[in-house]
Symmetry: C2
Subunit: 652 residues, 2 copies
Amino acid sequence: MVNDSEAPANGYVQPSIDVKALAALLDGAYGEIRDLVRANLTQHAEVLEDAERLGLDAFRDRVRDVVVEMAATGQTGMGFPQAYGGGGDVGASIAAFETLAFGDLSVLVKTGVQFGLFGGAILHLGTERHHEAYLPRLITGELMGCFAMTETGHGSDVQALRTQARYDPDSAEFVITTDGEAARKDYIGNAARHAELAVVFAQLEVGGRQEGVHAFVVPIRIDGAPAPGVRIEDDGRKMGLNGVDNGRIWFDQVRVPREALLNRFADVTADGTYRSEIENPGRRFFTMLGTLVQGRVSVAGAAVNASKVALTIAVKYASRRRQFTAAADGEEQLLLDYGTHQRRLLPLLARTYALHFAQDVVRTQLHEVFSRPQADDLARRELESRAAGLKALGTWHATRTIQECREACGGAGYLAINRFAALKADSDVFTTFEGDNHVLLQLVTKGLLTHHASEFENLDQRGMVRYVTALALDTIIEKASVHKLLERVRDLLPGGDQWDQEAGLLDSEYQLAMLRFREEHMLAGLARRLKRGMDQGGQPGAVFSQVQDHVIAVASAHVERLVLEAFVERMRQLPDGDEKVALGLLCDLFALSTIENDRAWFMEHGRLTAQRSKAIHREVNDLCRKVRAIAVDLVDAWTIPAPMLRSPDLLG
Amino acid sequence: MVNDSEAPANGYVQPSIDVKALAALLDGAYGEIRDLVRANLTQHAEVLEDAERLGLDAFRDRVRDVVVEMAATGQTGMGFPQAYGGGGDVGASIAAFETLAFGDLSVLVKTGVQFGLFGGAILHLGTERHHEAYLPRLITGELMGCFAMTETGHGSDVQALRTQARYDPDSAEFVITTDGEAARKDYIGNAARHAELAVVFAQLEVGGRQEGVHAFVVPIRIDGAPAPGVRIEDDGRKMGLNGVDNGRIWFDQVRVPREALLNRFADVTADGTYRSEIENPGRRFFTMLGTLVQGRVSVAGAAVNASKVALTIAVKYASRRRQFTAAADGEEQLLLDYGTHQRRLLPLLARTYALHFAQDVVRTQLHEVFSRPQADDLARRELESRAAGLKALGTWHATRTIQECREACGGAGYLAINRFAALKADSDVFTTFEGDNHVLLQLVTKGLLTHHASEFENLDQRGMVRYVTALALDTIIEKASVHKLLERVRDLLPGGDQWDQEAGLLDSEYQLAMLRFREEHMLAGLARRLKRGMDQGGQPGAVFSQVQDHVIAVASAHVERLVLEAFVERMRQLPDGDEKVALGLLCDLFALSTIENDRAWFMEHGRLTAQRSKAIHREVNDLCRKVRAIAVDLVDAWTIPAPMLRSPDLLG
């Protein structure tokens, strides 16, 4: 869409976007599966209205039916081996899940629970006997299951959960018991109504010895009634996602055979001997949990796509809605021509594009790690860190974007038919489930600290320390390491003391250097604070707690740097042309609005003068005006099926 | 609650709060009516569960019943004259409404629609004939009405609405007609099901002349069916507030008698002559609208109290929930002892207290203006500006606070029984109704600009220009005025160039000077930009649109300054004692976290060094630790009836 009348005077020419070409670029290698999901969403579009129309249990059953019907098209089984009826393509399974987030999010989360959490646990923690017994029927949705990890008393701190699984050698059975009210399983999707099986995480006791958290397959429902010794309670109505039947489960001496242990990483012999190839219990625990990284990658991508739905509605509405008179001729002005309206929506649009490309990177990493026969510890750790970080930033982005878009559509945005009600209520818990965002960002920072430590101090033999929740800080933040970190910060500057004064604001090397400088400087500062705290005799956990805000800030800075790198890298691969120019505007807008948001920090740390800070503000305004001219094309390129947007009055 | 073990070493002694005394201080002069509302809320507590349990229409009827039952206690009629069965105390009516926000917000909004909007329009825009005909029955809730102002095509720009009311002198009737689909009335509370009457805002035409927007009493429903010529459509399900029956209304040549015009400010004689004591049409329009300022004051107070509900749950939960091990003894740490958790909740707690005291000021102003027999233009304008600004900042604060508190309660916060689901969904539209926040803040800034202009340039005779939406900028921003504004900024500094370097961070004069400097500097900068735009030949509306982000920033800065002044002023009136010490902590925390949030601006404008900015960050952390020790007492002092909090698992 070229609009000559708005072309600035400095020779800049507004790009003209080929929407189909941009859409193909965005869909990438997974256009086929994404189009299948789009078709399935359109076919089942009426589920969006059912969410308002049906009662609680009727809607839950409706969502179950939709999930099973979608499963029959092959959409939800892409991540399972072909031998069991799956598609054998992990990347495609993530792409399918991301695309599903254009539609009703109960369908999305029910799909995630059944095929990602329950199916994923059977696949990755189980062995052939479990695969043969369960995979073929769970891939079709005939066998429904749930993933019983979270407990009321311990949401984020899985290692501390208190459900017990004692091995009884006489009967060769495990005895599963809920140890106290805080140990009840809670918020378990599929538990209140549909699941026959549960993968239950419990503290394994063998021969009087505690062996840590392990997973067991436990029947919880037989012919619709709770299995003997199992008590199930409905979590009831929730803010959203009411098509998912969350519930609580208690186990009272429930006996399952020895083979119910998902035994890929550890097993118990018939006579009651515990065996594992992974000696360190902490490492074993995190290796098990690590196989579940798919869930975080999936939620990150889903959050980005839920943001796209909100932005599509708000941008298209603002491009046709007129309000108040601004021009001399008395005609009312389009909302999207107001500077504040651009400021409200377009940096969010740019960040959504940035997160989209960052998601491409993490999905590709996931695909590679899980398609390899042998585990590569370093690649896994990098994947886990990136997944945790993107999940946190992506889901906060969704919460913020959906809220801003609702407000930008005024009172109309409040009506259920206009989609924001469900989007907002359903996506709200994304910031909490699959790992609370604050906890995830702390994991990211702990990883960075240990990564540096091992890089500089050759601590490989103790590298797994990063997996220990109560971080062994004394090991990590030795003086030498802090010293090296500070050196690294100096080395980062691309040359000369004035690098940040002279570079052009639209130079992506400048933008990257700013985000790299921030990350490294924050990390070094954090290491220094930790060391000081330890030197003064503080307990590691207490010291870490005291600097928690720095910990969160480091992780955010790290992830934003990764996101910008992903965007810049993608840009560099593109052939010259209008799409590249358009994406370049978005990349600049993302980078500069990110720096602008944290400009106080850059000024505090001598990397931004007051004058240059104001120049960035003006540049962001200018970029908003340029992006405004192509904003409708940019949201159209996401190719969200029209029935998913609803909003008849807003979209005309 | 004194906790000696946490007392810092510098001699500071943690205050010990007398919760009852603090509660009485907060309730102020309206303890009696607030306690009545608390009792009524407790009596009807089950409506909170009905919101989840009942279908749409059943819940709407239930809410109507609760409102009528509350009306019978005198709670909702405080703002009406005693002669008609009211309480004759405007301030008490606002206090009652604020307190009602502790409970189900559909009950609150239905109350606001019936007694505030509908009843308020009859009272303030009508004359004795309307009062006698309607007030006694509407005060009891026997006669239900709605307030039909907003149209689909024009939400915020009321002057542009397009419903027509033509006077027919032959029959001495007005003929009301919806002129095109964009002119349908929309989102009208009480319209879809319960209202018999509507106060309809329409463009009055008398003898072929357009006389601007006026209000008419129009029967829309007779014995449950739409009146002849009236079409009503249900707005259907909304994100929240589903106990309020919002709807759309179309009028097709609906005839009402001449006496249906609410004729306090203008009238039409039987022979078809238009008469008004207010000659200027713009001034007439805004005088009519001005009587509706109560709605904004009410919503501002309700938003603050809805925030209190969320904070009470989150703070009390965090004071008993343990998560992760930090101490050496292996005991898990309380959430509220984590630095980030304090950072997430306690500045919001301080801001809630600050907004509470600012609400006291605006409620008092409202009471005084509306209790006086004669209008005082200046006092009215100040009230309207303050009400608009507090409504915007208060409702955004509620949206943000409720979201943060939900996330701080993790997955449990997502369950409907734990209150956040309803709080979040119901309060979401507060930022939009009774004036969209962005539009309101623009009004605030326009008022500031004209205030300065008239103050310096003796433009009193043209003072009402501020009421014109397309602001007459050329009048306002004459060179002299800009010059004077800049002088004022210099005069503001409390002495010496180093004032902001040497003052103590906890000196409230320093804090106030910082917020005053920011406001005046921003305002002067805006005036300069406007002048430059006009000098370059821009159209006033277009120039104003281009600097819209500055316009919003000025208004926010202005309102934050008013809020801090209200808090500091209240502090100064208090006798010495522990409550004063406690409120002093909150006042400092509010002031410094406000400066911290905008520290980039202060650095850009030379009023904060990097070093001092970091010192403020540390001071905020320190204040959070001090407030943490008394946080539970501080939320208890709000005296929210326990059944309003629900959350059995969170609160134990």
